[in-house]
């Protein structure tokens, strides 16, 4: 038997190696006095460094591990998005943990590991590699969600997230097994040739597509796989919730986009039915349930579910403009959702665990800049011009109409209109209600986080006014389509 040494090409995973090494180094820092800023500093440096490495690979299509991992422009763009999100999460975490007098290296190490997992998911060209990436991500997140072991909500959140995550992983794995059974391979690049070569069982492949959508549907928290999200976001440390609400969605959407593109020639009916069902159900249930929420984080969780519903519409016409529209939506979603969570972190510094929307009443008088930033994020999430969220929605709706899904757009527009109510309620409470004393004593040094939020808010407006540059980058990244 001839053994052919695999073409590892270590360069293809250099950013991940960097992250793993620095993460492991961070594990040795523990609660040492005077290291309050060193730990998040190292973590941010690692993320920034890998973020700098990734663009150098732009346009080179570097492949490693016998092409199990390919860093094409598509994955570079998604990985940059993940890196940016993680960087924001690290910054937020620093403030959140400082407030709780915690400074542990392992917290940041876990964030770095989660980024590794997401990078592997995004760059992976084989379902099993993607599964490995998902597990690296999930295992880190399970621990992060339950990081405060002495808080009941945190433990409850992690248990629910862990058990349901393992459950959905098993379903995803079953999907991989079916995929393998149908095609005799798990690579997603050459599905068309694999279909020709194998004994090809179309039914098995379709079921595989449905199950894979399930596993990824859990990661993006779309209905009916969304039930964990509100509980987990609410129980987790808000800084973790901010990461959780954005980064895994980016990675999972990258995988979904690849899978849909790869298998849709053979199984277009199943994938499109599944995606339509998930999109419509997410928009309706997410938006309508959000109307009733009193907790800010829980409202944001349901809003996230609804936003995912809007994004899923982009997957209906991935070959046309759906892909770019989805990517644009995702990148703008980072700005506005991370921004909203960031404001929630600042506001939660005094209040304690559960932050109610009504706790924000009259905050505008004390914290005008934060309130303005929050208003911009809310307006953007609601999809009102001239913010980035408007154009993101607009672009997605336009592609869907062109692809012939008018009724879905009608539902989406109705649900957008519904969503305005709960997003605007936050603004109304901040600006119009009388000041309550609950949060008026927000204090402490929040300069860096305030600057970050200012940048996010500015970018939200800027990309709403001139989205052209982002779209240009995205269409270059998707040139292979």
């Amino acid at each position: 038997m001839n053994f052919i040494a695999p073409n590892v090409n270590i360069i293809s995973v250099m950013p991940e190696i960097l992250l793993l090494l620095s993460g492991t180094a961070l594990l040795f820092f523990r609660n040492c006095a005077g290291q309050g800023k060193a730990i998040p500093g190292i973590a941010s440096a690692a993320i920034i460094l890998q973020g700098l490495m990734i663009p150098t690979l732009w346009g080179n299509n570097i492949a490693g591990f016998n092409s199990l991992i390919v860093r094409d422009n598509f994955s570079i763009l998604f990985q940059t998005m993940v890196g940016a999100t993680a960087l924001l999460a690290v910054a937020f975490s620093h403030y959140y943990l400082k407030q709780r007098k915690v400074s542990e290296g392992e917290y940041y190490a876990l964030i770095l590991y989660a980024v590794v997992g997401m990078n592997v998911m995004i760059a992976g060209r084989d379902l099993l590699v993607i599964f490995l990436g998902m597990e690296i991500l999930s295992l880190s997140l399970y621990v992060l969600v339950g990081f405060f072991r002495d808080i009941n909500e945190s433990m409850e959140a992690t248990v629910k997230y862990f058990l349901l995550g393992a459950f959905s992983s098993a379903l995803f794995l079953l999907g991989i097994a079916f995929f393998f059974g149908a095609l005799g391979a798990t690579g997603i690049d050459n599905v068309t040739t694999a279909i020709e070569q194998s004994g090809f069982n179309i039914m098995l492949l379709m079921m595989a597509a449905a199950l894979l959508c399930t596993g990824l549907g859990f990661k993006i928290a779309s209905v009916p796989f969304h039930m964990w999200a509100p509980d987990t976001y609410e129980g987790a440390p808000i800084s973790v919730a901010s990461l959780l609400s954005v980064a895994p969605k980016i990675a999972a959407f990258a995988v979904l986009l690849r899978i849909v593109l790869a298998v849709s020639p053979a199984t277009s009916q199943v994938t499109s039915y599944t995606i339509i069902a998930m999109a419509v159900a997410s928009m309706i249930i997410g938006n309508i349930t959000a109307l009733r929420q009193t907790g800010l984080i829980r409202m944001l969780a349901y809003s996230g579910i609804a936003q995912v519903g809007f994004m899923l519409i982009g997957l209906l016409s991935p070959e046309q403009e759906g892909g770019p529209a989805l990517m644009f939506y995702l990148s703008m979603y980072i700005l506005m959702n991370m921004g909203a969570f960031g404001v929630a972190i600042v506001f939660s510094m005094v209040e304690g665990k559960r932050l109610l929307i009504n706790d924000l009443s009259g905050i505008a008088a004390h914290r005008p800049f934060l309130s303005l930033a929050m208003s911009i994020f809310m307006i953007s999430l609601a999809g009102i011009p001239p913010t980035a969220g408007f154009f993101a929605k607009f672009y997605i709706f336009k592609t869907a109409i062109e692809a012939g899904y008018l009724w879905i757009v009608v539902v989406a527009v109705i649900m957008t209109v519904v969503s305005l109510y709960y997003y605007f309620r936050v603004i109304m409470v901040m600006y119009m209600s009388e000041a309550s004393d609950k949060l008026s004593t927000v204090s402490g040094d929040v300069t860096v986080i305030a600057v970050l939020l200012g940048v996010l808010a500015f970018a939200t407006i800027l990309f709403g006014i001139m989205p052209g540059s982002i779209i240009g980058i995205i269409s270059k990244a998707l040139a292979f389509m």
Partner: protein, 640 residues
């Protein structure tokens, strides 16, 4: 780029600067400084707009439209959208209305809001409103117009709820919000449909496509036009989406004057005029608009008759007058609609500011039956208010007469005598409530105990200016009975392709009938106005208190005012009764019920979903499993 092209940018820029300066640094300013910044931010663009208008009038007909494109906003394969401004005669008129009325309302507000703790916030919102309104008006494409459209909606929402300590104010803000969303829904879908159909949202290109042999089906055009009209209905408070406007009177009075009378609520009319080429080609849509306009005009006038609150009377009157504008749009006489928009903006702004002055003088009293004989105390306010009401009632030779007459005659030509008659009934009821309002509040005996503040000069000056304009703008309606009025010459080529046919038809027709009808209507309107004035000034108790009326009617007859009494019994009572039905049954029960019911239903559904979210891990897993099972079984059974 030319000088004038650059100056286009300055029109929206100045109020935006006002927002930034007052919003960011205003904390350290004195009130005087804040006021100076805010007023300047509106005054300077007003001067520029005046200069631009002068240039535009001088310019030859072919180059009347000025455009300025800042950059390409959105560029995709199917459509590209520019951030661009368009100043043609149509938007010029709107810009002047917004800035002119806005300027005087800003001045007025400086004194009116003097004591308010939210002084800075108020002016920031007001400047922001002017900014978005200018964007709405000057946008050269639908998408940018939507930016302004949503922006003014947000400002309106914030300003209605400005006195947030009042629960009713917050509720009113919410209702305005919910109802306007229905309109937005139509607007968004309309824009998307236009993009998919025409692959452009630029107004100039749209009219170019529509003027050519485009081969787009009538059905598509109709749906697009109807969707866009839904947007206009929400913003311009047309039946049945009008319910938010009367409640919006919870906001400070200058806000009611600026946003809910003179500018924002008229945006729907302006928008429809912009879309004139589309409306002309969509079958039945114009008729539909005309019917909605007529229903609103008559219905809201009746509702106005039944109100006791001075601001609510004016609010319903605004709805009714916008109904008249939509009658004009529906009859295809866009110029007349725009002319009425201008005159109405001026005299309704005047009336609201007058009402504000009255409230100010009477310590916040709103009920007209608690006023009376104000003309003795507040001479200037009463005089200007009277001028405003004469214009509103459409009495010769005030501006309202010219604009309303043009609309009525256009409606007669387009839809015939029955339609015209109903519109005239609307005009008569307008005269009736105008007379009633002045009679009850300003004449008769005084029902107000307590001191009356004299308004100072800063309050009366805008009133005087606007009153002068309410009289003077009628000039633009000259010469009468021709399509070639001064105003339509200013409007120039705005509607040239769409109205040309109409103008020829009018020119060919005989003027005799038009003149006879106009004179007849004028005489009836004046009569109704005077009678209403007399009844309500002298015997308003009777007119007000339905239950106690019979005994009093006896006294009334005994006192020798038999004719008035009979008139009272035969005319006023049934009207008031109908007005009550309109207000209580249709508005409060049916439409409010539907709006609130929808809200409640959504809320209850949300509650159901929340209840399903029980916290039990088991159900979460079941939910996942249900999803998987559905997808897999659909795959297995439904797909061959």
């Amino acid at each position: 780029m030319t000088m004038s092209g650059m100056s286009l940018y300055f029109l929206p820029l100045a109020p935006a600067l006002g927002v930034l300066i007052n919003g960011l640094a205003g904390k350290h300013f004195s009130r005087q400084m804040i006021a100076i910044v805010a007023v300047t931010a509106v005054g300077v663009p007003l001067l520029i707009a005046g200069w631009l208008c002068y240039q535009m009038i001088l310019a030859p007909a072919t180059t009347k439209a000025m455009t300025a494109t800042l950059y390409q906003w959105i560029s995709t394969t199917a459509v590209s959208i520019n951030i661009g401004l368009l100043l043609d005669p149509l938007s010029m008129v709107m810009v002047l209305v917004v800035l002119f009325i806005g300027f005087f309302i800003h001045i007025y507000s400086v004194v009116y809001m003097k004591e308010d703790p939210g002084f800075r916030r108020f002016f920031v919102y007001m400047n922001l409103f002017i900014f978005f309104m200018i964007i709405l008006v000057m946008a050269d494409n639908l998408a940018l117009m939507f930016v302004g459209w949503e922006g003014v909606g947000l400002c309106s929402y914030l300003l209605i709820g400005f006195r947030h300590e009042k629960k009713s104010a917050a509720d009113a803000g919410r209702k305005a919000f919910v109802v306007n969303r229905i309109g937005d829904f139509g607007f968004i879908l309309g824009i998307l449909l236009v993009i998919v159909t025409f692959h452009t949202v630029q107004f100039s290109e749209l009219s170019k496509i529509l003027a050519s042999h485009h081969g787009i089906s009538n059905l598509t055009l109709t749906i697009a036009a109807l969707l866009l009209f839904t947007g206009a209905m929400g913003k311009s408070a047309q039946f049945p989406l009008h319910v938010w406007l009367p409640d919006a009177m919870e906001g400070p009075t200058p806000v009611s004057a600026l946003i809910h009378a003179a500018t924002m609520v008229n945006a729907g009319v302006y928008f429809m005029c912009r879309m004139a080429p589309l409306l002309q080609q969509a079958p039945y849509v114009l008729t539909f608009i005309a019917v909605i306009g007529l229903i609103t005009a008559v219905y809201a006038a009746l509702s106005a008759l039944g109100q006791d609150d001075i601001k609510k009377v004016l609010a319903y009157s605004t709805i009714s007058q916008i109904g008249f504008m939509f009658i004009a749009v529906g009859s295809g006489i866009f110029t007349a609609g725009m002319f009425h928009l201008v005159t109405h903006g001026i005299f309704k702004g005047l009336l609201f500011l007058g009402a504000g002055a009255v409230m100010h003088a009477l310590h916040g009293e709103l009920n007209i039956y608690n006023m009376g004989d104000l003309s003795g105390h507040l001479k200037i306010v009463a005089a200007t208010f009277f001028i405003g009401l004469l214009a509103l009632a459409g009495i010769f030779p005030l501006s309202g007469f010219f604009s309303k007459d043009a609309i009525l005659w256009g409606a007669f030509e387009q839809y015939g005598s029955w339609y015209w008659l109903l519109a005239v009934v609307g005009a008569l009821i307008t005269a009736l409530y105008c007379g009633k309002l002045f009679g009850v509040a300003f004449l008769g005996k005084q029902n107000f105990s307590g001191t009356i503040h004299k308004p100072d000069a800063v309050i009366t000056m805008p009133l005087a200016v606007l009153a002068f304009c309410a009289v003077g703008t009628g000039v633009f309606g000259l010469p009468m009975f021709t399509p070639n009025t001064l105003f339509s010459r200013i409007m120039g080529s705005s509607f040239a392709p769409t109205e040309a046919g109409h103008a020829v038809a009018v020119a060919a027709g005989s003027h005799t009938l038009e003149i006879v009808l106009t004179v007849a209507v004028s005489i009836i309107v004046i009569t109704v106005f005077i009678i209403a004035l007399r009844i309500f000034s002298i015997h308003r108790d009777k007119a007000a208190l339905f239950s106690a009326s019979y005994r009093k009617t006896g006294e009334f007859l005994h006192a020798g005012f038999g004719m008035d009494g009979l008139y009272d019994l035969l005319w006023v009572r049934p009207y008031e009764w109908i007005a009550q039905i309109c207000h209580t049954v249709i508005d409060r029960i049916i439409i409010d019920g539907t709006v609130n019911g929808t809200g409640k239903m959504a809320n209850a559904t949300g509650g159901l979903f929340s209840a399903l979210h029980s916290g039990q891990l088991r159900y979460y897993a079941v939910s996942i499993l249900a999803g998987v099972f559905t997808f897999v079984s659909v795959t297995y059974f439904l797909i061959p």
